[in-house]
């Protein structure tokens, strides 16, 4: 795997109010990787994700998307899932998922098949005509994921997408996300503040610390996929969680020092 999806080269990000969100961050995410950005709140992990999406300008260094530059023009090839479902309340589930294609000029008739496919992938067949307010939190998040994958992105960026959900729904969506990732061959960058979630999902965890935001540990999780409930209760899983937890504690001590 020597085909990078996104490369951060000594990236700095300073906001206009003087806050240094990221300092000298370098990272390379290879195609097909599932990478988690883990850290305390305020460590700049969401900022890093937004920059990876092309939202906002870096203050120093550079970000490259080697595959996108070589690939399709006009479409970024990037899907983004926000912390909240971020659906348009006035539009049906269908129209919400259609949106990225619509903005690219695809008519409703032409897009219908792909929208229905995306809804089916997240288990929402039969809900195309529903409005967001009729859906539960978990279902709204599924719509949000369907909207991100309708453009068939290579790189999927997720900003604490399941943070606001109850644990049962969260586990369920974690499993579904892993299945989609395996079958569709995405590259995923996943922001979270849950050690357990990051270990369960990722094959690589980048631990970040705050003020200024930087990467303090790069931990590979070599457990094989598919992962399921048996992995969640395995000794390996416990060991990885301890290792990542310790790295997170060190990251937070660095901040206190």
């Amino acid at each position: 795997m020597t085909s990078p999806s996104v490369v951060f080269d000594r990236v700095d990000k300073t906001f206009s109010n003087g806050t240094v969100a990221l300092k000298d961050v370098s990272l390379t995410v290879q195609k097909g990787e599932f990478v988690s950005l883990l850290g305390p709140s305020g460590c700049g992990k969401s900022t890093a994700l937004r920059l990876a999406a092309g939202l906002g300008e870096v203050s120093g260094g550079a970000i490259r998307w080697p595959r996108a530059e070589a690939g399709r023009v006009g479409q970024s090839g990037i899907g983004f899932v926000f912390q909240e479902p971020t659906l348009m309340p006035w539009a049906s589930v269908f129209s919400n998922v259609w949106l990225p294609l619509r903005l690219a000029g695809t008519s409703k008739r032409v897009a219908r098949h792909e929208v229905m496919d995306a809804l089916s992938l997240v288990g929402l067949d039969g809900f195309a005509g529903a409005y967001p307010r009729e859906l539960s939190g978990g279902m709204k998040m599924r719509v949000s994921i369907a909207r991100a994958l309708v453009t068939r992105p290579e790189l999927l960026l997720m900003d604490e997408p399941f943070g606001a959900l109850d644990e049962i729904t969260r586990f369920k969506l974690n499993d579904e996300l892993l299945q989609l990732w395996q079958s569709l061959g995405w590259t995923v960058i996943f922001v979270t503040h849950s050690v357990f979630e990051s270990v369960y999902l990722s094959n690589r965890i980048l631990v970040m610390s705050a003020r200024p935001g930087r990467i303090t540990a790069d931990i590979p999780i070599d457990a094989p996929y598919p992962r399921d409930e048996s992995f969640r209760s395995s000794v390996d899983y416990g060991g990885y969680c301890r290792q990542v937890s310790a790295a997170l504690h060190r990251a937070m001590e660095v901040r206190a020092a």
Binding site: G54, E84, A91, L99, L103, P132, R133, M139, I168
Partner: protein, 286 residues
């Protein structure tokens, strides 16, 4: 999908279908109409009884029956006057909607335009229209156009300020999403900002509808216009000079009814446009 999710969704969909069949529980709807109606009838009865029992002279306080008779008997005078007032009201409202929305869109698209124009829109709004009316009467070509201008000025601001606020209150993440998908300025405006602003705009519409009528009447008082072209305000003044109290009351009732009708219409439009998605229009179960 979890069983919990699907059960919940099925229940919510059932609730929704139930609602679209009859918007609210039947008894609730009946109450909403019956209670105000009963109070109206009671008040009218009390009024009629008072007038008859104490033999109040007509030139002081006519009974409701006499007022109703005046509406019918004087329709030849009041009907055209009502039409004049309504015409001014709706013309002013239409101009205010077009002008307010267009200006709001321009203000939101350009920070410079907002800095330059908004303070003067506020000045126009806070200056009492009765105080400006004499000036407008001097400059406007006809009295009718002067009244129209006054009503427009009053109705304009709520549409402008509400729509501007709405266009600015767009979910930041949705804006990012549009940017990420390469949306053009126009796509962002029509697919995101305009629908986001709709509830705010409709609030502006409801306020402006009422204000347009009030301003049309007030401006006519200020103008003191007379003759065949005059609206209800002049007819009310005229009735007062002649101590024709039944006609005065009749004019008042017509203005009131017009106001209620405008409010009901704008509320209905608002409800129809928002009922599928906006919290304000959703009937709650708990």
């Amino acid at each position: 999908m979890t069983a919990l999710d699907s059960r919940r969704a099925a229940r919510m969909r059932a609730v929704q279908e139930d609602q679209s069949a009859h918007q609210r529980p039947h008894s609730e709807r009946v109450l909403r109409i019956a209670v105000p109606l009963a109070i109206l009838v009671a008040l009218l009865a009390l009024w009629e009884w008072y007038v008859v029992a104490y033999e109040v002279p007509h030139y002081l306080l006519p009974g409701p029956r006499l007022v109703a008779q005046a509406i019918v008997a004087d329709w030849a005078v009041l009907g055209p006057a009502l039409m004049v007032t309504l015409k001014i009201t709706f013309s002013a409202l239409a101009l205010a909607l077009v002008g307010g929305v267009l200006l709001a869109v321009i203000l939101v698209q350009s920070r410079w335009a907002e800095l330059a124009v908004y303070p003067y829109a506020v000045v126009l709004q806070v200056t009492p229209i009765v105080a400006v009316a004499p000036l407008i009467l001097v400059y406007a070509p006809t009295t009718q156009s002067a009244i129209l201008i006054c009503a427009f000025i009053v109705a304009f601001f709520p549409v402008l300020s509400n729509t501007t606020q709405g266009l600015k209150s767009v979910d930041h993440n949705l804006l990012n999403l549009f940017e990420l998908n390469g949306a053009s300025r126009w796509q962002t405006l029509f697919l995101l900002k305009v629908p986001s602003a709709l509830p705010y705009f409709l609030t502006g519409l409801r306020i402006s509808g009422g204000l347009a009528l009030i301003a049309a009447v007030v401006a006519e008082f200020a103008a003191g216009s007379a003759g065949a072209q005059s609206g209800l305000a002049f007819r009310i003044l005229e009735a007062q000079f002649r101590l024709n109290m039944p006609r005065l009351f009749a004019g008042l009732v017509l203005i009131s009814a017009a106001g209620v009708a405008i409010f009901a219409t704008t509320s209905l439009i608002s409800h129809l446009l928002l009922r599928r998605w906006h919290e304000s229009a959703v009937a709650r179960e708990n």
